[in-house]
Amino acid sequence: MELVIQSIINGLIQGGFFALFAVGLVLIFGVMGVVNFAHGELVMIGAYTIWLVHAQYGFPYLPTLLLAIVLVMGIGLLMERFLFRPTRSDPLAGLICSIGVLFILQVVATLIGGDGPSKQVPPPLDGTLVVLEFIRIPYQRLFGLGVSALALLTLWYFLTRTRLGWALRAVALDREAAALQGININVISFIAIGVGAGLAGLAGGLMAPLTNINPHMGHNVIITAFIVTIVGGVGSLSGAVYAAIIYALFHTFVTVYLGGTVATICGLILMVLVLIVRPTGIMGVRVSE
């Protein structure tokens, strides 16, 4: 019983991180029609920023987190302007370009951090919250969960309560129709990738003190993001959030009882099953062809 409760909490915290980068991927795909294969590397750059600026040069954690968001956002905007915009007519070309970016970012990380053991960031928040003597949550993880939830709520407010958010959703629904309504697709694309990349940077920054940081850490991130995106429904942001939490709980429990690799295999099979049975995902909407 204790293990079950502890696992639920572990799963929820993981779910928060999963949601952050999966929502970004969905946003970029929805608005721009591009599968951003370099999304995991954006998370990685966020984590490296924390390692370099906070852990190496002693800059305080919170401003560094902000810096990570801004930096990764900047990378996203550059990708949109110079790669995705020129190739907008061909979604495959955008995907291939993002693979090119993936390679470049990995090398950048190797140049910054060198090869060798994974980097470690000492957690800025020490200590552990102990509830009922058997549930133990490190404050750093609690902080990560809180910030993820806050970021997702802000995004939800932005998308559903502001004009810009409506415009963004309109483009995701039907790009041509939205353009006809006078919505500037380039501006909306900038916002989508800015928000998506910013969330990836935030996820990386939050995960940095909790995980092994290395140039290849993006690989697991992108697999997770794909699974979450597909299970949640490619066009659906809320679906991505629900799927992130469900998948994180699923993954945590399978890891506890059957092992980590089995958990990932099950996740991938789950994803293929969803693709077969319900290609629009659990919360999916039909996206424009």
């Binding site: 190496q56 060798g116 980590g260």
Partner: protein
């Protein structure tokens, strides 16, 4: 916690431009011949911590010898030149690098890390009669005459830590083992720990084998701690830091035993000194006074440590001294054979009744497990963290343990599906 990334960078760039060929001694004496020793190791990628630091160590040893005027082998005096090739733990590149070292650079010995990269060059070692070394004796096969493991006998030395733990903390009755699930490092080590615990009369209540794709260790540690083990045992070193961090946060109070504890100062930074203190593992720092023990066969370890830390302050890992120790073994063999010819050196090494082993007490072993007596086992140190510093507690005999308990070990190796003869 100054991690000198510039240092690593410089090293990697230097390695890059030399395309592996790191010619060292500049003070070559005109009369001296040069003998080249090859290293076909990972210098980039995930396995780099078990390759590159070894090259640094060998450069120091080679430099010491060369500045002292070289080494007398047979009638000639030789300088030593290290030639390294980075295979990045990729089998394809390992084969290419091996051929380059052997056929183009004409090295007299090739040192390697082990695992699939060694397996892929084995046919060539046999064919070219090239003395090849590994840190994983489990690479030895009944046919691999030219492959020896003269220094690290991963993971057999783990039995010493368990013996020490049993003697020091007789109340610890149950243990849980966590390791990555690869047959090269993780499972070998897990089987050895299982055998050692069985011999020590400690119950293994959980064996958690995880993959390399884990980003969050919280669920793993939670599920292991739910079994309430007195001892938490980490069988390989890839994920020691995140595991220790989780143990710390989830409030583990028992004993921790680990195969390695590389970069333990980083672990202390992520947890606390009090928490890490008392952790038992197997790899000493070389400024340890206990290395001046008369049985130890490593000339002036303190001086080696000082030179190493001056040149590469934050790159010390378990292999920093292991490849140099193999180089020293080779020198002994070459002197005894009065030749640098690989076959002659191998013969001289193998015919020694009491081979020089880095921690002393060495003897050839391995046929019962892998089919050939091509690994040296002897004494091995048990290391414990005291006040944030690794200190050798005692030396224990691995060969003695094997003599009595090898059947238990073979049983557990078979149980985990590992190759035995």
């Amino acid at each position: 916690m100054g991690f000198t990334r510039r240092d690593i960078l410089r090293a990697s760039v230097a390695g890059a431009f030399a395309t592996g060929a790191t010619a060292l001694p500049t003070q070559l004496l005109a009369a001296n011949k040069t003998v080249k020793i090859g290293m076909n190791i990972p210098m980039t990628g995930d396995y780099a911590p078990w390759g590159l630091p070894g090259l640094y160590g060998c450069e120091i040893v080679a430099n010491n010898i060369n500045t002292a005027g070289g080494v007398k082998i047979g009638g000639d005096t030789y300088n030593i030149e290290m030639v390294a090739y980075d295979h990045g733990y990729d089998t394809e590149k390992a084969v290419q690098g091996y051929k380059k070292l052997v056929l183009q650079d004409e090295v007299k010995m090739v040192m390697m890390l082990g695992g699939s990269t060694v397996a892929s060059v084995l046919p060539w070692a046999q064919r070219r009669k090239m003395l090849t070394t590994t840190l994983l004796p489990s690479d030895i096969t009944p046919e691999s005459e030219y492959l020896v493991a003269t220094c690290e006998s991963h993971p057999l030395y783990n039995v010493t830590g368990v013996e020490y733990l049993k003697a020091k903390y007789p109340d610890a009755k149950t243990a849980a083992i966590v390791t990555n699930n690869d047959a090269e490092y993780g499972l070998q080590s897990a089987a050895t720990y299982k055998a050692a615990f069985e011999v020590a009369g400690i119950d293994v209540v959980d064996v958690n084998l995880h993959g390399f794709d884990i980003t969050d260790f919280a669920p793993i540690v939670s599920s292991v701690l739910a079994k309430n083990p007195d001892i938490f045992c980490m069988a390989t070193s890839f994920y020691v830091t995140p595991l220790m961090e989780q143990l710390y946060h989830q409030g583990f109070k028992g004993k921790i035993i680990s195969c390695t504890l590389d970069y333990y100062d980083e672990i202390i930074a992520k947890t606390s000194r009090e928490f890490v203190d008392g952790t038992i593992f197997q790899f000493p720092d070389f400024d340890d006074p206990a290395l001046n023990d008369p049985g130890v066969n490593f000339p002036n370890p303190g001086d080696f440590d000082a030179k190493y830390r001056a040149a590469h302050p934050n790159d010390w890992s378990a292999v920093s001294w292991e490849y140099p120790a193999i180089l020293l073994n080779w020198l002994e063999g070459a002197k005894a054979a009065a030749s640098v010819d690989p076959t002659a050196v191998l013969k001289a090494l193998r015919s020694a009744k009491n081979p020089e082993f880095v921690f002393g007490g060495g003897q050839w072993w391995g046929s019962q497990l892998w089919g050939l007596d091509n690994a040296v086992v002897g004494r091995w140190p048990v290391v414990v963290v005291e006040n944030g510093k690794a200190r050798i507690q005692e030396y224990r005999s691995v060969s003695g343990w094997l003599e009595k308990n090898k059947d238990v070990l073979i049983k557990h190796m078979k149980e985990l599906g590992l190759r035995t003869v």
